[in-house]
Every structure is written in structure tokens, then in C-alpha cells.
Symmetry: C2
Subunit: 157 residues, 2 copies
Amino acid sequence: MYRIGELADLCEVKADTLRFYEKHGLLSPSSRTDSGYRVYTDADAARLRFILRAKAVGFTLSEISELLSIDLDKSNWACADVKGMVDLKLAQVQAKIAELLHFQTSLQSLSDACCGGPRSAEHCSILEALESSTERVRVEHDHGATDCTTTLDKSGN
Amino acid sequence: MYRIGELADLCEVKADTLRFYEKHGLLSPSSRTDSGYRVYTDADAARLRFILRAKAVGFTLSEISELLSIDLDKSNWACADVKGMVDLKLAQVQAKIAELLHFQTSLQSLSDACCGGPRSAEHCSILEALESSTERVRVEHDHGATDCTTTLDKSGN
DNA sequence: ATAAACCTTAGAGCCTACTCCAAGGTCAAG
DNA sequence: CTTGACCTTGGAGTAGGCTCTAAGGTTTAT
């Protein structure tokens, strides 16, 4: 039996977070004291850990809600259903990774094209790349940068 | 000279988005018609393209605001300042990628551990992994899954 | 002249996951 | 019996980027 602050400390979350989870139907304390304090059991703690593990692999709270309700009614669901959720999330994560890798590549080439020196940004190749209506930017400026050409890929949009 | 809808179509954004950018100080039309319609010039269009290119490499609107004000006052900024912003963003993007790769790995091992079959999820290894208080899950169940052991890494939190 | 397509504004709503606040009640120690 | 740490509630605020609505004015084509 834990009070809200105890369970929060135990699982390294804030008490506010537990109230938030309760408000959103993810985790309710099994009972209350006479004075209204929340009382959590070990089963509640286990449920919280389920939530935190699901969060740690990237599920949103509403997806976790779904997973929890499946977990409580396993016999009416198939492995395929659960695996489907995991695979869908996997695909979403991979799509996001792809987008970020795109950002990374573009940022890296912007960074590489810039001398990074202490002098005026009047010919900064990063600003030029962002300004230019063509996607191709010549970088050949006056304070010590090496010559280079960088491409800002429009398809990353 | 463009009306809001024309510029929006030209740059494949919504008119609402342009009004939103205006409200947030990113892009204001150079003038208005007598009846109050927004009128955008080519320079405004160029500024919008700057914004969209910066978005395409991962900058937030408030960062883009900063980039725009640097761009308008280049001589008072150094390349180092601009490159610093790019490198900071790059680091943030890389951190996010690392987190998502973590998610990906965990999700992949959950997926691999699950038979994905049409039968009851009562022994579903994914649910077991999320339930289990240990981080290690034996997967050895009754409907056709191959034996395996999957690890749900707590450090990915 | 009128209908369609466009424009204006202020302001609300959405999504995610908290986080914080105020005003007050409860509990254990000294 | 008071202090301090804990708990309660409802509600607002944050970030980020739109998106939509209502109620009305303007332009353009027929």
C-alpha cells in the first residue's frame, strides 16, 4: 500500500503525473483512506510499471490505454492484434527516424558549408542556402572557408 | 503582388498558415488593399520560402524567427552565430534520432518475440514483456512461436 | 443583380504529456 | 497545539503549429 508520493518516488515520476494518469483513465488507486488520500496497491504499482515500460518503447498514453485494456482481457484478443500495434508503432517510429535523418543530413551539409568564423555573416553560406530560391548554393566566400557546394533538398519537406 | 490565397497556393501552404505566421511575427504582407486585403510582394514570397526551407531542415518557428532577424541584420552577426544555431539544432536532432533508434530496437525485439498468430493473447510475449517486472522475458509459448529471449531496456527511458 | 469565390477579424479548439498553482484538509512528531 | 510534510480539488499554463468557426465584407463573372 502506497500513498501517492510514495508510489511516485518508487517509480520516479511525480505525484502530479499519477493524478494525470488517473484523470485520463490509465491508473486509478484501488482505494482511498477515510480522509480521501489515494491508496495504491502492488497491483497498481505493476500497472504503473506497465505504463512506464510502454512509454519507454514509444507508445503514447492513448495507445497505452488500449494496451492496458487488452492486457486485462487477453483471452478476447489475438497475438496478431498486439503485434499489429507494435508493428504499427514501429513503422511510425521508422518514419520519424527517416524524417530526422533527412534533417540531420541537411543540417550537416549546412554546417559543413559554413566557415563558422567570428566575422560578419554577410556572406554566410547557411543564410544564403536558406535564402536562395535555387536549391543549390555556391559557397566561396571571403573569410577562409574552403570552397564547397551544398544542397538543400526540397524533398525533405 | 499576391493575395493571401495566391501566395498560399504558390507555396503550398494554407492561407490560415500565412495569417498564423503574421500573428507570430514571421511574415507580414508589405501592404493592404483599400478594402483591407493583404498584399504580398515577391520579397514577401522569398521570406516565406526562407521560412519553409528552414522548417524543412527541422527548425521551429521561434528559431526561424531568430534566423530571419539575423538574416535582416547580417553585418551584426558572425558566421559562428549562425553555425552555432545549426549545430545546436543538429545536436537536438541527433539526440531525438538516438531516442527513436532506441524505441525502434525495443519494438523490433518485441515484434520478433511475438508469434503474431490469430489465437488468444493469453501468453503473448509482448504483453508479458510489458507486464514483467524483470527486464528479461522468456518467450516459450504454446502456439507456434520459436523460443526466444527478448530484452526490454530500461535505460531507454 | 446576384452567386460564387474570395477576403476580413477575433477567438476557440486540437494534440500530447505533463506541470504548476491556490486554497485548503490531514497526519505525525515534539 | 503547532509545525511541516504530506495530501485534496479544480483549473490554468506550457510548447508547437496550425486549423477551424462565425459573422460579415469584397470582387469577379455571368
